[in-house]
């Protein structure tokens, strides 16, 4: 009954090859990560210390720490997310739950897709024209944050729509059948069951925001600006320029002549650390919310 025909042998071999192939590809993904992180951390180790994090840069950034760049990055990321997360999530709710399929919806969807494909330097130029000059905000933290918001919005909208449409349509129909309004359906059924996916999408944009150089370089990030007495709140987020880790890294790596060779790698390590901490938070939040998902 269970004889080994040539066909069965062939099938088993193909199965084994397929499994090894896909497994190998998955394993290959880990290698660059380990190499990048390992290389950067080892190269940067000589410059890394607690003081490096908490002291201002001196002499155009080639001496001292990176405190003001770290604070600047945190400011930019926080402000831009405060703008893009609510707008992105709520417009995705509109597009996915309310919008009928008409020309307006199609234009909005088209705009979202195309906006997501615009290179970041173009976003930077737009921010320079729109926020810095036209809106009169000047080169400031606010201009840079808003520029990054525009850049992350379409991705947040796309990921939120994805999370919302993962909630089965039958749930919505069941709610409508008993006389629930769309909003009652969204609030009681759709959002509680898609919130993990929505948050994941939003949080993952943090790493993009923290890492972008081109848009912020044009709109509000200075190559050198210390915070007086290493304080936290000396930036005026509306009008001041600031430093940012990404820009600082670019500047030290390419423009500064007599910086310690380990300095750029140390900055990169800190940038990676910020991103990894945020991503780890995202994974934790997702795991927690998944465990409460109810179907």
């Amino acid at each position: 009954m269970f004889t080994e025909t040539p066909f069965v042998r062939k099938k088993r071999r193909a199965e084994l090859i397929a499994k090894c192939f896909f497994g190998g590809m998955a394993a290959a993904m880990v290698i660059p990560l380990i190499l990048i992180v390992g290389y950067v951390v080892i190269q940067g180790a000589p410059s890394l210390s607690w003081d490096f994090l908490t002291t201002n840069p001196r002499l155009g950034g080639i001496r001292g720490g990176i405190w003001s760049a770290l604070v600047g990055t945190i400011y930019i990321v926080a402000i831009s997310l405060c703008v893009s997360a609510p707008i992105g999530v709520f417009s995705a709710v509109y597009l996915n739950e309310y919008a009928k399929d008409n020309w307006f919806t199609r234009i909005v969807n088209l705009a979202v897709v195309n906006l997501a494909g615009v290179p970041s330097i173009v976003h930077g130029l737009f921010g320079l024209g729109a926020f810095v000059y036209a809106a009169g905000m000047g080169k400031s933290i606010l201009s840079a944050s808003l520029t990054l918001s525009i850049m992350t919005l379409p991705v947040i909208i796309a990921s939120t729509k994805e999370a919302l449409s993962a909630v089965p349509i039958s749930f919505r129909e069941a709610c409508w059948n008993v006389g629930a309004t769309r909003w009652q359906t969204i609030r009681r059924i759709v959002l509680p069951n898609s919130i993990s996916g929505i948050l994941t999408g939003v949080i993952l944009q943090v790493s993009r925001t923290a890492g972008e150089t081109a848009p912020v370089m044009l709109t509000g990030v200075a190559t050198f600006k210390a915070i007086e007495s290493n304080g936290l709140f000396l930036y005026n987020p509306l009008t001041d320029q600031c430093m940012a880790l990404s820009m600082h890294l670019y500047y030290i790596a390419t423009q500064a002549n007599n910086a310690a060779p380990s300095l750029p790698y140390a900055i990169a390590t800190v940038l990676l650390g910020v991103v990894l901490v945020v991503n780890a938070t995202a994974i934790g939040v997702r795991a927690y919310l998944r465990s409460r998902k109810k179907w």
Binding site: K100, D101, S170, F171, R172, E173, A174, C175, W176, N177, V178, G179, A180, T181, Q184, R188, I189, P192, N193, K293, K294, W295
Partner: protein
């Protein structure tokens, strides 16, 4: 002077895009009647129900013409469509347990309608679950998830939810598809009780179920009424249309 029917359908037409699926049908359903609808797949049974509670509007590119009146009022002109839907309990063919606890599943509709007092909700939830023949199985675990129930239990949960907004009309769309015969019989007994309080529309693939329960039965085929009459005629030896006889006797369909 005849009494006003509970539901009046006049020349109802429904198209999905350019494809017309209901071709101008007219019929009345009386108060406290059990009205059977039989017919093969694609004959427009579910679409007809969705025209009555206007959930058809959620499908893209549908066109409805003609009138559907509930209690003499045209549903297309009802301003408060949520009130209309609360008047009509709807049970879909496949059970849908909302991702909430059993209690919250049943309390969902009353809460959406603004009922908040715990004591009111408790009483209503118990009553509805009992009517759906589910209470005894779940009374000790009302806090567990509705989606974790078995298929048959979820279908009875769906029925309890449909009853929870105290409808005047109950639409059952192939409700017994996921339920075993014994439970089906228990629910059929419940329906016989419920008809004292409400009008029941029973869409079913089981012609014998319509025969057991309904007062009148409509044979719908390809969006047209082939025959609509009292059960004695439809399921008797001499329905007016040969196709009815063939369908009921299982010659085709």
């Amino acid at each position: 002077m005849t009494a006003q029917p509970k539901i009046e359908v006049r020349d109802l037409r429904l198209s999905y895009g350019t494809r017309e699926v209901i071709h101008g049908i007219s019929f009345d359903i009386g108060h406290n009647e059990i009205f059977g609808i039989i017919g093969p797949a694609q004959s427009g049974k579910t679409s007809l129900l969705r025209c009555i509670n206007r959930t058809i509007e959620f499908s893209a590119a549908t066109t409805v013409s003609g009138t559907v009146k509930v209690d003499g009022q045209s549903v297309q002109k009802v301003r408060n469509v949520y009130e209309l839907r609360r008047k009509i309990g709807m049970v879909a063919p496949l059970p849908v347990g909302l991702p909430l606890s059993i209690y919250d599943n049943v309390a969902f509709a009353p809460r959406c309608a603004g009922m908040t007092a715990k004591s009111d909700l408790d009483g209503l939830v118990e009553k509805c679950l009992q009517q759906a023949a589910l209470w005894d199985e779940v009374k000790d675990r009302l806090d567990s998830l509705g989606t974790k129930l078995s298929g048959g239990q979820q279908q009875r949960l769906t029925i309890a939810r449909a009853l929870s907004h105290q409808p005047e009309i109950l639409c059952l769309d192939e409700f017994s598809i996921a339920i075993d015969p014994v439970t089906t019989m228990r629910i059929e007994d419940v329906l016989k009780e419920l008809r004292k309080e409400m009008t029941i529309i029973l869409v079913t693939n089981l012609t014998q179920q319509a025969r057991r329960l309904a007062d009148r039965t409509m044979f719908l085929w390809n969006g047209e009424i082939i025959e609509l009459d009292i059960n004695d005629v439809i399921f008797g030896d001499t329905p007016k249309d040969q196709r009815t006889y063939d369908y009921v006797m299982g010659v085709f369909g």
